[in-house]
Subunit: 205 residues, 2 copies
Amino acid sequence: MANNGLLIVISGPSGTGKGTICKALSEDKDLWISVSATTREPRAGEIDGVNYYFLSRQEFLEKIENDDFFEYAEVYGNYYGTPKWKALEAIYSGKDVLLEIDIQGALKVKQQYPEGVFIFILPPSMEELKKRITNRGTETEESLMRRFKSAYHEMNYISKYNYAVVNDTVENAVDKIKAILSAEKCRVDRLKEKILDSEEVEIHE
Amino acid sequence: MANNGLLIVISGPSGTGKGTICKALSEDKDLWISVSATTREPRAGEIDGVNYYFLSRQEFLEKIENDDFFEYAEVYGNYYGTPKWKALEAIYSGKDVLLEIDIQGALKVKQQYPEGVFIFILPPSMEELKKRITNRGTETEESLMRRFKSAYHEMNYISKYNYAVVNDTVENAVDKIKAILSAEKCRVDRLKEKILDSEEVEIHE
């Protein structure tokens, strides 16, 4: 019996650098990276299954009907969603799945797959987060403040997560996430069936 | 405010190699190794606080009275115990404490300090455990069989532990335990107060 893989959900306020961390983690060939689905047209160079799963509107609606998404939204007439069926396919085949998603999305994933490993990425400090959001440039003072307040508000959701990882450097954060995966695979809750089922012991009396 | 250290309890049936693993882990200078207390006389070369804490019978009895031991036993007229006060002192000063203990002892520690990290060391297989117990030599067939059956019975206690680590090689087992410690330090349950208390954020409106 193959063991199920883990669903690792990397999430956190904007500006904490979760995208960079996931990019670094995705170099690990044993991780299956979750790709979003969309009904919008592929742009030049975009590859189905790499950038997005490109679905027709009809296909997307059927998948909504089948409860095939962890979450989805319609934006400017196009649907975007996080495919549950793809993640579960990989998990049941023993692969660990990495899913980068915002906080609202992560909470929806958790409702449907509470056995996932939910990791909240933290900035080294709120001052540093402010700096990072500001350094993205181009935005007005007002919109920066809105973003920052929203990030600050989102910090409250940390209690819904299993782990919090401070993104002081990408290397440190990646090491910690790898340690979390390694530890989760040793959790008795996850191992119990495997151990107790797999042992054939002969006691010669 | 310094964070409390972790209490890491390494335990498992005899013959799984937990002693070797703890010896390897104890090379990490950041870990404080729990040392037993005893009323027996020090032997030549034994150092107080290194091999044992050597206590007078009077001191030991007072400490029992004060609930200062996780567990203790009287063996051939001498007391032996696992000092709770020493472990807590180290933990409250921010040090991680490593405690190697048999299964009955570990269960007593868990009752008194459930926030510890309880790690069960597993042999690669029950066949391998049998081989290891047998290779210790010198014992009769009957006593070997009793040891093996007791180890087999002790496997049932795995469900009381947080983690199970297979001792296929000492290096692998040590790496996994280090990953567990690193992960445990990221657990939101443990971090919450630290994060939510330590941030002073100014929002300029």
